[in-house]
Subunit: 341 residues, 2 copies
């Protein structure tokens, strides 16, 4: 079973996924595209993958073809649902057992389509699946946070080429989320306003980092972008939790996402990228000690972070925590705005 | 000029290196090994590189051949020495001008040798150059910290293949260093002992994560390793600042480093890697507000962090701050211990 280990010097948790126990030689295998015949995410190969958790299909039984979007457990999960959440000290360290969930959202039955190729309606299906899984997993009180992300391309960590996203539910609020939640809460405590609503307003007024405005969403290059062509997609209305979006709000989001992905593909020639949905921790009341985050609906604002993976994270960045970005976000936004779709 | 920009949500500084102002097409160039004839780090090509700052050579004037180790400014520096350190607010953000230094330590005149190929005497020369540059740069009171690191291999961010390390001096203590300094100080405040001395003792007793013990140094796989085969090299004696090492202490360090690099090369078949020297901030007294870190000699303990770059940092890690490591450090240490040199 995997375990989470606490580093008391770096002050963060690391997931040691011993289930995957790899030998040195396993790292020398060059990743290559999966052929369609053996792809576990393709129509007709449903039996090559674990049984589905969720699917959008017009008709037919679970695990049959003709689905539009399909969610399955990861065959090699980083964290597992089975078991009780326990933690213990270990000398100077701490250990927690690896409770969580690890799911794959197969975005399309089409082996050749990238996410940017999906129609707005197809993207709405994907977003609907995201929402359904987030709403379901928040029922499990052991899980404190759901990280919904996508790795596209080998350089971004994708091991299968068929278009998919992933959801990892973790028993702790992740460190980066904690930092953002604190920043937002402290701002709200002092000013009575959502920090990110202020940032969005500031950026819309400044204009130079805006890639594209939509009625309900905005895509921009953040002022302190860590990586070249890094982007954020924000809802312009205040909303703390992605999973509470209504159907009508998903369509506008799909339009904005498709536009963002197409512009990026055009300017950077189909780059590898990661995106991550940053949302508030689940709000269901829990037994025991009240949750510090239980009133976060006022001060957090969900958003999507997108990072193209066209440069390496080198020793300086890894060892210091400072990032070096050789493309000012104002330039990145101008290049992306310049694309005619 | 570069600038540092503060992200008030992620709460960190990013270096926007606008001097390097790259266009999208610049990212599509495949890196390839520099041929020896045009390599600016080779004998006889000294005029292709900036003028040297420091060198170890038996005889001859600066910028002539016959050096053993040579330090030059980076031709494309991330931060520059010229100018006054200033910071200002910018709406919701903060900006600081990019004052610092960016130097290259050319570890050997031999174009084909990797650091692991250097003799112990040659490695002592490299470490002597590190120390000399750290001692010199600490005289500049604008610089708060020196990040000494190495990128080996394209996957680790190296752009030139000739063996070299880098030193970036920054006007702020880096966020990861701040976290470690705080952890060490709080431990010392409560217990009156150095945290890392305790960790080293605990690990030596446990044994299972030790790769190799030397009289004055130890190489181990950290309990909460973020990446497969991650390593730490610690001095077994208490020492907070790398640059205060005496000549006799450099030789033992060179032996330990060579052993560590050779084992890694053997087990992972010459992997790309980064290493970073984590040391205490410079202790020279500064004018103005007393420095929080000015008594850090008791509670910090310098060490070298080494991370092989054989896996990608994917969306989950980037967006959450949790790392997933598929090789438990106990296994990594056993593989590395098993190498016969």
């Amino acid at each position: 079973m995997s375990e989470l280990r606490w580093d008391p010097l770096k002050r963060h948790w690391v997931i040691i996924a011993a289930d995957r126990g790899r030998r040195p030689n396993d790292f020398f295998v060059e990743p290559k595209p999966t052929p369609m015949t053996s792809c576990p995410f393709c129509y007709g190969n449903e039996d090559k993958a674990p049984r589905e958790i969720f699917a959008i299909r017009p008709s037919g039984p679970p695990d049959s073809p003709n689905w539009r979007v399909r969610v399955i457990p990861n065959k090699y999960p980083v964290l597992r649902v089975e078991g009780e959440l326990k933690s213990r000290g270990h000398g100077l360290y701490d250990v927690m057992n690896g409770i969580g969930a690890h799911e794959i959202i197969i975005e399309t039955p089409d082996h050749e389509k990238g996410m940017a190729d999906l129609s707005v309606d197809e993207l709405v299906d994907v977003l609907t699946a995201y929402r359904a899984r987030l709403l379901d997993l928040r029922q499990d009180l052991r899980l404190r946070y759901m990280v919904l992300f996508k790795n596209y391309g080998v350089r971004a960590g994708a091991s299968l080429s068929h278009s998919h996203s992933q959801l990892i539910a973790v028993p702790l609020v992740p460190p980066m989320t904690v930092t953002e939640l604190h920043a937002c809460r402290e701002f709200f405590d002092v000013k009575g306003r959502c920090f990110m609503c202020d940032i969005i307003e500031f950026e819309l007024r400044a204009g130079e980092r805006i890639v594209r405005e939509f009625p309900d969403y905005v895509v921009l290059a953040p002022f302190a972008s860590c990586l070249p062509f890094e982007l954020r997609l924000y809802p312009r209305f205040h909303s703390h939790e992605f999973s509470l979006l209504e159907d009508g709000q998903l369509a506008g989001l799909a339009v904005a996402m498709k536009d963002m992905l197409l512009r990026l593909r055009e300017v950077l020639k189909n780059p590898a990228y990661n995106f991550i949905i940053h949302t508030a921790p689940s709000l269901l009341p829990r037994p025991g000690r009240p949750d510090f985050w239980s009133s976060i609906e006022y001060d957090f604002h969900w958003h999507i972070e997108l990072v193209p993976r066209i440069t390496e994270i080198a020793g300086f960045e890894w060892g210091s925590g400072f990032h070096i970005n050789s493309v000012p976000p104002e330039d990145a936004a101008a290049f992306l705005r310049g694309v005619s779709l």
